[in-house]
């Protein structure tokens, strides 16, 4: 691992967060923190509350109880657009791309928040809008280069294989230049080679841009390889928290994953 990468103070602190939908308790008194520049994984069996946790962080769900501190601001509730403006970007388990639009345009949508000129100027491509478009395009090209998808720049996303679509989804999130990047099962449904590529990109993002990353993942091998620290959820409760080695040795985690005979 990158030993000289400086992991900083907590960027995101989750305190006693509880979330329920009617009688279903998705999260119960979950607390953990994410430090600046770290790769933090949330793992757990199906239905453990991983995606709910991610949705709480970027404001899609509003927890009934608990406090979320992000960049030293305490909030009980965040709205998704507010989260985006404050530098939280995410990718989706089931992808959220415009299938009919090109790779380039899809990533360009991620630059939306960086655009300052008004829609009329943008539509006419005149004055400052043109200059802005050029700047944004340059930023997008850097991402295309970074993710090595030059060959598909003009290809409609719907025509790409799944692994590449995942990469475009990551590109769209990166286009926001996020401070905190949430990845919802970035390797789901990928073959070994695609997983390796994705791991490399996640590590590179973290390393080159210093982006703090929270990722949810099923594939234990992947998580243990690239994460600095791991939170384990089971039935909405935190059952373990620590370095990959600590978590791997934790009896509660082994029971949750492998089942336990009563």
């Amino acid at each position: 691992m990158n030993t000289d990468r400086r992991i900083g103070d907590p960027l995101l602190v989750i305190q006693d967060v509880s979330l329920s939908f009617g009688g279903v308790k998705a999260l119960q008194d979950v607390s953990f923190d994410v430090r600046e520049h770290e790769i933090r994984a949330i793992i757990g069996p199906n239905g453990a509350g991983k995606s709910s946790m991610l949705n709480v962080i970027n404001g899609v769900y509003h927890p009934q109880k608990g406090r979320i501190t992000y960049a030293e601001q305490v909030r009980a509730q965040v709205d998704p657009h507010e989260a985006a403006e404050r530098g939280i970007a995410r990718t989706f388990q089931n992808l959220a791309l415009f299938k009919g639009m090109s790779v380039l345009d899809n990533i360009m949508t991620g630059r939306n928040l960086k655009m300052r000129t008004n829609i009329l100027l943008q539509a006419l491509r005149i004055g400052p809008a043109l200059k802005e478009e050029v700047e944004q395009r340059a930023a997008v090209e850097k991402i295309i280069d970074f993710l090595e998808i030059q060959a598909y720049r003009k290809t409609p996303v719907g025509r790409l294989p799944y692994g590449l679509q995942k990469r475009v989804d990551l590109g769209r999130a990166l286009a926001m230049e996020p401070r905190l990047l949430l990845l919802d099962e970035p390797m789901a449904g990928m073959n070994v080679e695609e997983k390796q590529d994705m791991c490399r990109f996640i590590l590179d993002v973290n390393d080159q841009f210093g982006t703090t990353i929270v990722l949810i993942e099923h594939d234990m091998g992947v998580v243990m390889d690239i994460s600095d620290r791991v939170v384990v959820l089971d039935y909405g409760r935190k059952i373990a928290d620590g370095t990959p080695d600590e978590v791997r040795a934790n009896q509660a985690v082994i029971d949750a994953y492998l089942g336990v005979s009563h």
Binding site: N2, A138, E141, K142, D145, Q150, A151, D204, D207
Partner: protein, 651 residues
Amino acid sequence: MAEKLDTFPRLLLHHAAVRPGQAAIREKDLGIWQTWTWAEVAEEVRALACGLAAQGFKRGMSLAIIGENRPRLYWAIAAAQALGGIPVPLYQDAVAQEMVYVFHDADIAFAIVEDQEQVDKLLEIQPQCPKLAHIVFDDPRGLRHYTQAALKSYEKLQELGREFDRAHPGFFADEVARGDTNDIASMFYTSGTTGSPKGVTHTHNALITAGRTGAEMEGLAPADEVLAYLPMAWIGQNIFSYTQSYVVGFCISCPESAETVAADMREIGPTYYFAPPAVLERLLTQVSIRMEDAGWIKRKLYAGFMDLARRVGGKILDGDASVGAGDRLMYRAGDALMYGPLRNMLGMSRVKVAYTAGEAIGPDLFVFYRSIGINLKQLYGSTETAVFVCVQPNGQVKADTVGPPVKGVEVKVAENGEILIRSPGLFSEYHRNAEATAEAKDRDGWFHTGDAGYFDADGHLKIIDRAKDVGRLQDGTLFAPKYLENKLKFFPYIKEAVCFGHARDMVCAFVNIDFDAVGNWAERRNLAYSGYTDLAAQAPVRDLVRECVESVNRDLAQDATLGGSQIHRFLILHKELDPDDGEITRTRKVRRGFIGEKYAPLVEALYGGRSECFIETQVRFEDGRTGKISATLPISDAKTSPAAAALKKAA
């Protein structure tokens, strides 16, 4: 001082003086073509050469160059040559251990490489190659945390070079002036179908003479455009994209990445183009697949106009006056509707001269390109002969010959059918291998090519196979395996084929299906498959391949000498032949002997009359790990055609 343009650095300085503002090299970066003029290239090379010198690079030393086509790697060639050093380009997809031999053989202390991937390989082999002390990388991505003392960025090296240049202002000019035309200019390692690779050394004179002869013959000018997309380690790439660019002064363009070559080619519109038959085949396969997916009207239109093109297109290109006015009019209509757009789609709208070489090209494939108006020609040459030995002159192009010898090259056919060559472009020697040199180059300076062939009535050379591969069946019938394999490979569904038959009672073949083409074919028939092995094992696919084999047999039946070498039995291999497994070379030539040994049980099953055979094979993945694939392969019989078919047709 009268300028002698007899070394590459002098040519570079000449262009920088004569056409300073003209584009010399381009690269697509972040979606935009970046251009460097000759004057800028000269500055870049100067800074790099001085940087290398500041680090202790001396006359006669070797510089390893590894990576995709990148301007900076081309400048590295020129920088090494400016200092009297020897650039040694290596195949960028070679695994680390394959590189160890070359690093030892060429005593390499300096390497300039493209990116982290190559750096990782060199760091891996560094303990085995203690002399390797300097690794310079172009793209810093992923290398921020590397602290090895040997590593240096390209920018840093150039910066050191500029400092050195300021401290020693006359150094660069002196070094260039010290260069002699008979110094070694480059060393290319042969892919090595047999034994260890051999370093083939060429002088400035040999390369420049060969490049100039070709350029004069085709009338190349500084305004020409070339897309540099083949491996730098291959001598042809050096000749077409470096040597001739420096001789003539034309601009070369480096594609954005290996996957974007087709799109980049459409944007650049090269006028001078080289493609090995495999690439041409892949392009045609793509066209065929897309046409099969097209609507009914388009398919009919395509079929109709391609028939016309096959009939008269080649003749029109050759300026044959026998083509009637009606056909000419129709061809012109076809050009507007079909051939023109097709050429544009292939990125060949502006191609003046296109070459193909390396392997015999299927006549239908060759005729396809010529018939739609692309001046595709065959040439014959090798690493040892600096490519240009025979070239088909405009207007005298035949599908089955490689043309007459070019100016200054002597060719003769030895008694055993082997082709011998003597020319100024001939290599100097095999590096540190006097024995091999003596074996290949006799006392009178004739190079023994190892190819078998003969001159036809028009004085064109015709190559049939490697001299050592041409064999005979038990009954004495001539057996030219490559000839058969090429016939099979012309079918879009067959990617590779390996034929056996020497000293046997019949010819049998291994076949590799083309995964893209057959996959597409299967999808249109609602045939489900999970991967290559599964698809290759399906009965309908076997029938498809059988039809191809039987069609080849019908074709062979017409041939008086080779009619007896029809393919009786075949099987479809469960895995694709792969250079990582040593089954084909990096230039995609099948290693028949190696395959025959590796799959000996399969060969025996073919000749033993069995209907299936179990095989387990070790495969090497791209990351160096190994795994096993096993399958039970069914063996099929193919109908052979009686040689009498030829008679019946004639009657």
